[in-house]
Symmetry: C2
Subunit: 349 residues, 2 copies
């Protein structure tokens, strides 16, 4: 039974796994205020595009749960303030904005309801997002698993696993589904500097699931591919533009270039909520730059000279041409991506 | 005045900068036994192919300095034991074996000398290697600096600087020489997991030299190149086969693939002692695998699950076809490398 990354506590707050403590400690922490949710997203206690979306939706519920607004307009103004504030936590993953918009729309759709009922409907909307994510990730997993040979070694980057979603994962969901189909899958996990989500989260999660995983430093992926040890690369995504350009954890573009050089398929696994069709290309995706201390002082230990200049973008953009296919819950989107993205995303349901 | 990485103390031992303490502390430690030299090489207190060669040569002197052998044969047997032992410290960089062989040959050449004189001649041989390294690195620097435009940003990996040689560096020697010629050079330094020689040593050394350096995680190099921020890549080498295939710090091959993808020149800077012409290709270079703890417990802090499988090769091999040119003290070796390597190396000194 997979772990829940984030959940609503019936007493009126959010509980989430504090992922900064993994793999040394598995601990749920409470977020009782919107500020605590914002901080949890900002500091990556909860991370991964779909999980951030869920945190945003539940954060909106938390923000309006004790509202004393007496009119819809007053209530909606409060909700908008909460959503606008949560939207400032992290800029790149679009799922956060998607989830916040969905909460706004749910409120609008039910504007005639009494406010106590509206609150419950908003909670239901957020819980629906969680349940949908569970179903969507399993569909992504099934769609992707069919692409893998019966015996296969996958290289993945960062964590696009259960910890990045409600409970199952996108890139790792494909691996879980393949294993459930009886395929023999091994994994190389990039450690993913600076915050080591591959070492701390992916390796831990796969070991929990009994899947053979080998941890490597990010700079070792090329040599592993050159030795013929990798059959495909599967990564998650934080935002996908209309042409298929994909923002994901820094280092993803690196892997895509290497996969091309070695003739290895490069797959992106993501729910349809990760697409931002308002952006023509990846050039328009805002890339978050994070603190130099993530690089120079990992876990409180200084490993670079005082005052050194650091460039620490949290994401990069992989151009569509390097992506073999994008695996979504609605189907596998193949090249040419810019033509096939609308076809698959607009397909029923 | 550059720092000396390693030196002979007139009282009969070796002093070297303990590079595991940098950048937090600049400290010379004493190696008073051959075992201490072996340990210093093994644990990377002294590292970098040319500096390891120097440590090997001085280690041989240390090993025979207090010899009480009464015949040359007895003395040579002691020397061979010391050299054979030191040769087991690290397998990939050829400069160690080159320097040890040179010490053996110096003994053979002087076998008729009284043993006290022989000891002094061996010390002189080791000190000659140091002085030659200083001249060679400056020649590499001059030869390489001519390749750089007047204004240029260089990406480098690991540390091929003064700390990897007697005092000036190979890849960083090119940068120092270019700056001495009045060129305006900026540097991106890969941090170089797992042991962070880029963050700890290269960033420190360049800052000491007043050269503008920006530290990045290894997985960020691709994105930096894609943004057009890098004009060339320059790295060192641990062993170069007859066809030009080059073993260097893990992650070097990655950069070579990326440089090709982005149309950026990729240079290797190394002394002629780094060539191993007995090897036809890089496939024959032994690649050192190091402890999983370097990856899972950097500096004593566990960042991956207990028991996780780790693949930690210390080097990779970059195929000759990805190398624009190899910069040596004897000249710049251009493509086709397999043809031009013997031409340049066999040219008059």
């Amino acid at each position: 039974m997979p772990l829940e990354t984030i959940r609503w506590n019936e007493r009126g707050w959010i509980e989430l796994i504090d992922q900064t403590l993994l793999p040394n400690e598995l601990k749920y922490i409470a977020c009782r205020t919107v500020e605590e949710v914002w901080e949890a997203i900002k500091t990556l206690r909860v991370r991964g595009a779909p999980a951030i979306g869920i945190a945003g939706a539940l954060g909106v519920v938390l923000g309006i749960w004790r509202s004393e607004a007496r009119s819809y307009d007053e209530f909606k103004a409060e909700l908008d303030r909460v959503a606008d504030y949560l939207a400032t936590s992290r800029p790149t993953a679009v799922n956060l904005f998607w989830a916040l918009d969905r909460m706004r729309e749910a409120a609008e759709r039910n504007k005639d309801k009494p406010i106590p009922e509206l609150k419950k409907l908003l909670l239901k909307e957020a819980l629906d997002i969680i349940e949908e994510d569970k179903r969507i990730c399993r569909a992504i997993g099934r769609n992707g698993a069919r692409l893998l040979p019966d015996e296969c070694t996958v290289l993945t980057h960062c964590n696009a696993g259960g910890l990045a979603t409600a409970d199952y994962g996108t890139a790792l969901g494909v691996i879980y589904a393949a294993v459930e189909m009886g395929k023999r899958i091994k994994v190389f996990a990039d450690e993913t500097r600076p915050l080591l989500q591959g070492a701390r989260l992916t390796a831990w999660e796969l070991m929990q699931g009994g899947i053979e995983v080998t941890l490597i430093c990010d700079n070792t992926a090329a040599y592993v591919m050159k030795q013929g040890l990798v059959d495909c690369v599967i990564v998650g995504a934080d935002r996908i533009a209309a042409n298929g350009d994909t923002a994901n954890k820094i280092g993803t573009y690196n892997l895509a270039v290497l996969a091309k050089e070695h003739g290895i398929p490069f797959y992106v696994a993501a729910p349809s909520s990760t697409f931002d069709l308002t952006l023509e290309s990846g050039d328009q995706i805002p890339i978050e730059e994070r603190s130099p201390e993530e690089v120079t002082c990992p876990f409180g230990r200084r490993i670079a000279p005082e005052g050194v200049k650091v460039y620490n973008p949290a994401f990069d953009v992989t151009p569509a041409r390097l992506i073999t296919a994008i695996i979504t819950e609605k189907g596998v989107i193949r090249q040419p991506l810019h033509e096939n993205i609308p076809k698959i995303l607009n397909a029923c349901p």
